[in-house]
Every structure is written in structure tokens, then in C-alpha cells.
């Protein structure tokens, strides 16, 4: 076989979304990719003498007959290699470089890590679907799933230190919108001067002792939050809201109400309910959930280039894919 150095090999997104090509247009399972990868992985592993028990069947073993003509393991192996050999090997290479890097960094995946991750993954499924059902439906085994999970936990631990975090705040808001050509208007809109006058009046009413909830109902034009006391939930500067919300919140204390400030499409007044550094225990889960979702996002974002760089650093010789 040719001795081919695959430095510079383009990663085809296994850490991007390995399932992304899992369905045909009509949504039916198009290619049971992981099954193919597993089949090929077994074969490739056999080539390197790291042989799972199930692949120790002799290539000459007959696995089926058609009109008494045999189909042998070697036939299946050849077919699997041709179909997905390169992709499967790429996957194994990535697993290997992640394992090696984790080992260098002293990172281990404990049984508790796996148990917790499994709990999270089960929680994401909507009843009556179960993980076992889904695995069965996609011809996957729990050991293979756990192997994927283990590598993802390693990757998460390797990258979590690189994730930049931002202050979190639980905020409520009153928003008054201005007219903008081309805007998809969903409520009353105003000129800039009108909007500023309205939000200023709202603030005056608050200062005079009127209740926040009542002022939101009376003034706010933000449809999603108007019926919920203006609750924006827990946000940080990457939450998709105008930066004015978190910039203003940074200068407030819990419970304090801001003066009016400009946002992209109007004006707002906010009340800071709590912050990541100062919130009641009853909000722990909510803050943890937001932080965890953001960390997962960032790790997912960093993963493709990180895994690619690990491969560039490693000495990899690929005999399968010139």
C-alpha cells in the first residue's frame, strides 16, 4: 500500500454534525452512516490488530447464501470498505488524536461523567421516545454510542478552558419601538421623538411608585414579553438582544431600574432582577442552564478547527485514503 501522509487532509465535519447527512430529503433514513462506519471500523481495527471480538470471524465465514451461493465476511468487508472506508478511518483517526491529547492533559472520563452525560442526553428526548428505542431505530448499539459520548466529553474538557464567558443577568424590560422602513411591524410604532417621550413617561410613572407589572402592560410594545412582566429571562451580551441591555445592566444593582436607553429599534427601560454573581438559590438551575448551553455551543464551535489542528500536529500516515 502507498505510504500517504494526510497532513492537510480536509476534515469533513464529524465534529460539526455527523448526523447532518443522515436523512434524505423526505426525511427518511438515507444512509445509516454510523452503521457503515462501525462496520468499516471493525475491519480497519482488524487490520491494526485492535480487533473487537465481533470481527474475529474468519473472512471465509459464510454470512449468507443466495441460491446456495455464499456471501462471505470478506465480501461484506470489501463492500463496507468501498462504501465508507475513508470516512470511517477518518473518524477513528480523530478519536485517536482526541484520546492522545486528553492523555497528555491528564484528562480522564469518569463513570460519573458518563452517567451525567447519559442523563442529559436522555432528558433531551421527548417522551415516549427513549434512547434505547432511538438507538435501535438507527441500528446503533449502546457501546458505540457510549464511545462517541466518551470522546465528546474528552473534547469538552479539552476545550472548556478556551470558552470565553460573559456576565449573565436576569432582566425585565419595557420596550418602545420606532418606525423603520422595511420593518416587519407587529404593533404600534413611533417616531424617535415619540418613542423617547413614551419611555420617559414610563420611567416617570415607575419613579412615582407605580408597579412595574402595570407599567409594562400599559407601555411596553414588545409582544413576546409584554404579557410576562417584560421578563427577558437570563441574558448575556451574546444573547441576541441589543447590547444596551447588558451594558446597562452592568451598572445596576439587583432590583434597580435603569433610566431610558436607546436600542436598535427604539428605547428601553430595564430592571435588573439578579446577576450570575448574585442571585437566589432558586435561580441556580436557570443560570446553570444558560451557561451550560452557551458552553456547549462554544465547544461545538471550537471543535472542528481544534480537531483538525490536532491532526496537523500528529504524524499520521493513511494507507487507505491516498
Amino acid at each position: 500500500m502507498p505510504d500517504v501522509d494526510i497532513i492537510g487532509f480536509s476534515v469533513v465535519g464529524p465534529w460539526d454534525n455527523p448526523w447532518a447527512r443522515f436523512y434524505s430529503l423526505d426525511g427518511k433514513e438515507a444512509l445509516p452512516l454510523l452503521v457503515k462506519i462501525w462496520m468499516t471500523a471493525v475491519f480497519v481495527a482488524g487490520m491494526t490488530a485492535v480487533v473487537p471480538a465481533r470481527s474475529q470471524t474468519s473472512p471465509a465465514t459464510v454470512v449468507a447464501t443466495v441460491d446456495r451461493k455464499p456471501i462471505m465476511v470478506s465480501d461484506v468487508q470489501r463492500e463496507a470498505m468501498e462504501m465508507v472506508g475513508a470516512a470511517a478511518l477518518q473518524r477513528l483517526i480523530e478519536f485517536r488524536v482526541i484520546d492522545d491529547e486528553a492523555r497528555k492533559d491528564g484528562i480522564t472520563v469518569t463513570a460519573a461523567d458518563m452517567k451525567e452525560q447519559l442523563r442529559k442526553e436522555r432528558a433531551k428526548l421527548t417522551a415516549p421516545a427513549t434512547l434505547e428505542d432511538e438507538l435501535k431505530q438507527h441500528h446503533l448499539t449502546m457501546p458505540l454510542f457510549e464511545e462517541m459520548m466518551r470522546h465528546n466529553i474528552e473534547l469538552h474538557k479539552l476545550l472548556i478552558g478556551r470558552v470565553q464567558t460573559f456576565p449573565l443577568y436576569h432582566l425585565r424590560a419595557i420596550m418602545i419601538y420606532v418606525s423603520r422602513p422595511g420593518a416587519t411591524q407587529t404593533g404600534p410604532v413611533h417616531t424617535d421623538a415619540q418613542a423617547e417621550a413614551i419611555v420617559t413617561q414610563a420611567e416617570r410613572d415607575l419613579q412615582s411608585g407605580k408597579k412595574w407589572d402595570d407599567i409594562v402592560k400599559q407601555y411596553s410594545e414588545d409582544a413576546p414579553t409584554k404579557g410576562n412582566a417584560g421578563d427577558l429571562g437570563i441574558v448575556n451580551k451574546v444573547s441576541g438582544y441589543d447590547q444596551g441591555f447588558t451594558n446597562t445592566a452592568a451598572d445596576l444593582k439587583n432590583g434597580q431600574i435603569s433610566t431610558p436607553f436607546k436600542i436598535l429599534d427604539g428605547y428601553a427601560v430595564i430592571q435588573r432582577i439578579s446577576s450570575g454573581a448574585d442571585h437566589p438559590a432558586s435561580e441556580n438551575d436557570a443560570y446553570d442552564g444558560v451557561e451550560s448551553a452557551y458552553e456547549d455551543y462554544m465547544v461545538g464551535h471550537l471543535s472542528p478547527s481544534y480537531v483538525q489542528n490536532l491532526q496537523l500536529k500528529a504524524k499520521i500516515v493513511n494507507y487507505l485514503s491516498p
Binding site: 465534529w15 460539526d16 469538552h156 470565553q164 407587529t186 451580551k237 451574546v238 447590547q243 436598535l264 471550537l302
Partner: protein, 228 residues
């Protein structure tokens, strides 16, 4: 800002597992639907992703193909919940940028933006906001206003960093449908102002970044076509 959500393999896998194919929504004449958080389907060069990365709330993605779809959702609270989008993997080298797109969208009510999300090979993110609603705003602060870019439009430009550079070009003439040209010129502007070095555009995405909704809402992509 648009958070390009690159899922961990496991998370994506689980979400793909949760794909449940239901009868078409006849009111919208959709042929297919899916209720998974991270459903993805491909047709030709076009990829459709639900990309509900900031929420576990049930959503339904109705679709005929990756260029014609509808995210039916109900999101409350802060933070971007989903970026349902159409994507093509371009890998266009600098000097060959000639990306354009025709789009026709119908957003629902809430806090959202309708935006392009282009990534270069240096990891920088370039957004073009065609329209938005509610309290949405781009990452960072405004660095230039009323910038006229040939063939692309006039923009207010924002720059921010959440671990990577994100530069957002907000159209001053917003619309839910139209043709966005001049992506090459936008990139050239960004380069000449020091926001990027020579790079390849790895992929191009276009969709709705949805943070919150006023009850159940449909965010519909009637059509999106990329050229490059």
C-alpha cells in the same frame, strides 16, 4: 449576533435521533416535517438545519426542500433559541468572492433577525442583517454608519468578539425579500478596515435567528437561492 452553532457530535446525534416525521401540514402545503432540535436535510448543494441550539422547547420544521421551509416555534425568555437556516458549503478563495442571494422570507412576531452568516477560514464571522424585529441587536458596538458598499447596499457596521471576531452589516434599507449582492465587496470592506486578512469563505448560511416569540409563530423561508 449570530452564533454559528457547531454542535458536538453527541448532541447533534441525539437530536437527530429525536427526528419524528409527521404528516404534512396541509395549511402550509408542506410535504415534510420534523420535530427534532437539530434536524438536517440536504438536496444538491443546499443544506437545511433546524439548529435549535439554545432551547429544548418543541419546534416543528415544515419543509418542501432546503430552500423552502417554516419553523413553527414558541420561545420565551432571553437568548437566541434557534437559527433555522439554509446553507451551502462554498470554500471560495479570496479574489473569487461573488456570492449573492435571492431571498423571500416571512418572519413571525418576536425578537429575531433575518441574516446571512458567512464564515471565513480564519474563523471570523460576517453577518448581513436584512431585517430584524423586537429588541434584537448585533454583537459589539457600532464602528461605522451609513457605509455604502458597491453592489451590496448601505450598512451600519458593528464589531464584537465572543471568542472570535464577529462583524455585522445591518442594512439601512431593511426588507424580508430581495436580492443581496456584493458579498465580495462587503468582504473587501472588512479587509480594508482591518477586520480580516486573506481568507476563504468556508460556508454561507441564511436564516432566522430567533430569540423569543409572541406565542406560536411561523418563520417562513419562501425561497432562498445562493449564487457564487
Amino acid at each position: 449576533m449570530k452564533l454559528r452553532y457547531r454542535l458536538s457530535a453527541l448532541v447533534a446525534g441525539i437530536c437527530a435521533f429525536s427526528a419524528l416525521f409527521t404528516a404534512a401540514n396541509t395549511a402550509h402545503a408542506w410535504s415534510y416535517s420534523n420535530t427534532g432540535q437539530y434536524f438536517s436535510t440536504t438536496s444538491g448543494s443546499y443544506i437545511l438545519d433546524t439548529d435549535e441550539w439554545g432551547s429544548t422547547a418543541g419546534v416543528t420544521l415544515y419543509y418542501n426542500n432546503p430552500q423552502n421551509w417554516d419553523l413553527y416555534c414558541n420561545f420565551t425568555g432571553g437568548g437566541v433559541k434557534a437559527y433555522p437556516h439554509t446553507q451551502v458549503n462554498t470554500n471560495i478563495s479570496e479574489g473569487s468572492y461573488n456570492v449573492w442571494g435571492y431571498f423571500n422570507a416571512s418572519p413571525g412576531s418576536g425578537t429575531w433577525d433575518l441574516a446571512w452568516d458567512n464564515w471565513d477560514s480564519n474563523g471570523a464571522e460576517y453577518m448581513i442583517w436584512e431585517n430584524w424585529g423586537g429588541g434584537a441587536g448585533p454583537l459589539g458596538s457600532e464602528v461605522a454608519s451609513n457605509v455604502s458598499i458597491s453592489g451590496a447596499g448601505t450598512f451600519n457596521v458593528y464589531s464584537g468578539n465572543d471568542g472570535h471576531e464577529c462583524i455585522s452589516f445591518l442594512q439601512t434599507s431593511t426588507a424580508d425579500n430581495g436580492t443581496q449582492g456584493g458579498v465580495s465587496s462587503i468582504m473587501a470592506w472588512a479587509k480594508s478596515h482591518g477586520y480580516t486578512s486573506s481568507a476563504t469563505i468556508s460556508n454561507v448560511q441564511f436564516g432566522f435567528e430567533v430569540s423569543s416569540t409572541s406565542g406560536n409563530q411561523n418563520f417562513i423561508m419562501n425561497d432562498i437561492q445562493f449564487g457564487w
